[in-house]
């Protein structure tokens, strides 16, 4: 029983470690290759298109 629990715990820990390592690995790649900015810069024209369509009460 104790062995099984220990095994489960180890599995959980391993999963956790894998998740953390995976998270760090993925986010580090995003960080290092500036993928976050590359993505947001691709979003900008879409947003601008949207802003042009917003109804506004333009006056002095």
């Amino acid at each position: 029983m104790a062995k099984k629990m220990k095994k489960n715990l180890l599995k959980l820990l391993l999963k956790l470690v894998l998740i953390v390592v995976g998270f760090i690995g993925v986010t580090f790649v995003v960080y290092f290759y500036n993928l976050d900015m590359k993505l947001t810069s691709a979003m900008e024209p879409i947003l601008t298109h949207f802003y042009d369509k917003v109804k506004r009460d333009q006056h002095l």
Binding site: M37, S41, M43, L47, Y51, R56
Partner: protein, 522 residues
């Protein structure tokens, strides 16, 4: 001048692309890269926690054109951390990250109060809309009030993030007949209001005549819209000749009137205990800044450049001791700076010239000072925006000090950054520059010529003559503050490049930075 072992990455220019963003981030060695990565992650986490998880803020993202620029926040940090290592990287993050958090909170509060978005009417009852150009020292005794500046969020910060952020608003103002030669900052703010792109917040508003004629007059456009929106507005007039004794009573009375106006419209009462708590923190920030300045007078300056300017703008002008977290940042910066100073660390590979940076910086190229250091080895020891009041204000709650406090608030308001130099007569702009040159042992003055800033333009010839007289290298760097169409970032750099090559006959420290393809860059 001083040289160190390799500090920063060589060939920083290779990160630039012709697009909006850089090709990748810098490798700074394992420890520093890991640190920078962790701060990057922290900033994204903070922005998500404060802004992105709330539906109302997403709604605002699709309502306000200027919100699109906030996509570029991490890149702004990257621009300012270029080439930094060790303590200096950490100092920069201490400055930048707290500003990011503060701005994220500002956005969140703005949209919570905004009648179009969150429309939290109870919250709005305690929100006072503050002119971007006003020192927020008048809020130091109002712990229950939330002062918000919509211009900081909509025009000031966005241009730091994206060099083209204000162009739409500038064009709108000119379509309505505003002359094209006025300062583009109040011009963009006027355009923003005309374009109906400003959040509608606050139970009342305070406008201010700092910083310049354009800013004063732009208030008229904003006032018109505020009146339509039913927001009562008070104009806080701040004397121009702020060093004169015979204007101080006027300034103090203006503060009393502003406090009375806020009390009337918010139902809050001025809290002296809170005021003096804030005053202590203001003094702490002043002492910290002075300590950093002292280091900058030596061969081993540690806290300087655009990071200091941005941090001072926030801490001195907006925070005014109201947010304790900024004192923590001050302490952290001081500790890191002391550590690096003891080790005689340099911030970049090579120091060739010691410069005082004067005038109004190009807002669309705030990280120019980083470039100056990395490309040509010119240390921007201090800049005009950081040379604000160093007066220690009354901080003990006594009857005499309560009277003095009003004069202190007035003094701080009069000495809002930039206007403390652009107003007040030629002594504060012209004469004191040469005193700083001597004090900081500088051999060069980098003089930003914000072309539509009439207060600076008006001293052009005097600057040149005095520099010649004193044998100081004075390099003009023209720009148009918010509008890179007039002079591009490369146009800004070229002015330094040609001076350094033709007059100084020098080669750049990092030649890859001399010409950069950042025309389209954020």
């Amino acid at each position: 001048m001083a040289k160190s072992k390799r500090i920063g990455t060589q060939n920083l220019g290779r990160f630039y692309t012709e697009g909006k963003v850089r090709n990748r981030r810098e490798w700074r060695g394992l420890a520093d890269t890991a640190y920078d990565y962790s701060r990057w992650l922290y900033n994204w986490f903070n922005m998500a926690r404060i802004v992105l998880v709330k539906p109302r803020n997403i709604k605002a993202m699709f309502r306000y054109r200027w919100m699109g620029n906030y996509l570029a926040v991490p890149m702004m940090v990257d621009r300012h951390t270029q080439g930094l290592r060790g303590e200096h990287l950490r100092i920069c993050h201490a400055e930048q990250d707290i500003i990011i958090e503060d701005v994220a909170k500002l956005l969140d509060k703005l949209f919570r109060a905004d009648r179009r978005i969150g429309n939290d009417t109870e919250f709005n009852k305690k929100v006072v809309l503050i002119d971007e150009n006003a020192m927020q020292s008048v809020m130091m005794g109002f712990p229950g009030i939330v002062p918000l500046s919509r211009e900081i969020a909509s025009t000031y910060i966005p241009v730091l993030l994206n060099q083209r952020a204000a162009l739409h608003y500038i064009d709108i103002a000119q379509e309505y007949g505003l002359a094209g030669d006025v300062c583009p900052m109040p011009e963009a703010e006027a355009g923003l209001v005309i374009d109906d792109d400003a959040p509608i917040v606050g139970c009342c508003a305070i406008q201010c005549n700092t910083t310049c004629d354009g800013s004063l007059m732009g208030n008229g456009v904003v006032y018109k819209r505020l009146t339509e929106e039913g927001i009562p507005t008070h104009q806080l007039a701040v004397p121009l000749r702020h060093r004169e004794d015979d204007v101080q009573e006027y300034a103090a009375q203006e503060i009393r009137n502003a406090i009375a106006f806020i009390e009337e419209h918010t139902g809050e009462k001025w809290d002296w205990a809170h005021y003096f708590e804030c005053a202590k923190r203001v003094n702490f920030a002043t002492r910290s800044r002075l300590e950093w300045m002292e280091m900058s007078k030596t061969d081993y300056p540690q806290v300087f450049g655009s990071n200091l300017a941005l941090y001072t703008e926030t801490n001195y002008m907006v925070v005014n001791g109201r947010i304790p977290l900024f004192n923590e940042a001050d302490k952290k910066i001081s500790a890191l700076a002391q550590k690096a100073y003891k080790k005689k660390k340099l911030v970049a590979n090579e120091y060739r010239h010691r410069a005082i940076v004067w005038g109004v910086q190009s807002h669309y190229y705030m990280d120019f000072l980083v470039w100056l250091l990395n490309c040509w080895g010119i240390i921007p020891l201090t800049d005009m925006l950081s040379m604000v009041s160093t007066k220690i204000i009354a901080e003990e709650d006594t009857p005499e000090n309560r009277e003095q406090a009003i004069y202190d608030i007035a003094w701080l308001t009069e000495n809002m950054l930039m206007r403390n130099r652009t107003h007040g007569g030629y002594k504060v702009l012209l004469d004191e520059l040469w005193e700083f040159v001597e004090e900081f042992n500088a051999d060069m003055v980098i003089l930003w010529e914000h072309m539509s800033c009439k207060a600076l333009d008006g001293m052009h010839g005097q600057f040149e003559e005095k520099a010649r007289e004193k044998g100081i290298h004075l390099v003009w760097v023209s720009h148009d503050l918010f509008d890179p169409r007039v002079i591009s970032r490369q146009g800004v750099r070229d002015q330094i490049n040609s001076y350094m090559r033709t007059v100084m006959r020098e080669e750049p420290v990092d030649p890859s930075l001399e010409v950069l393809s950042d025309e389209e860059s954020w």
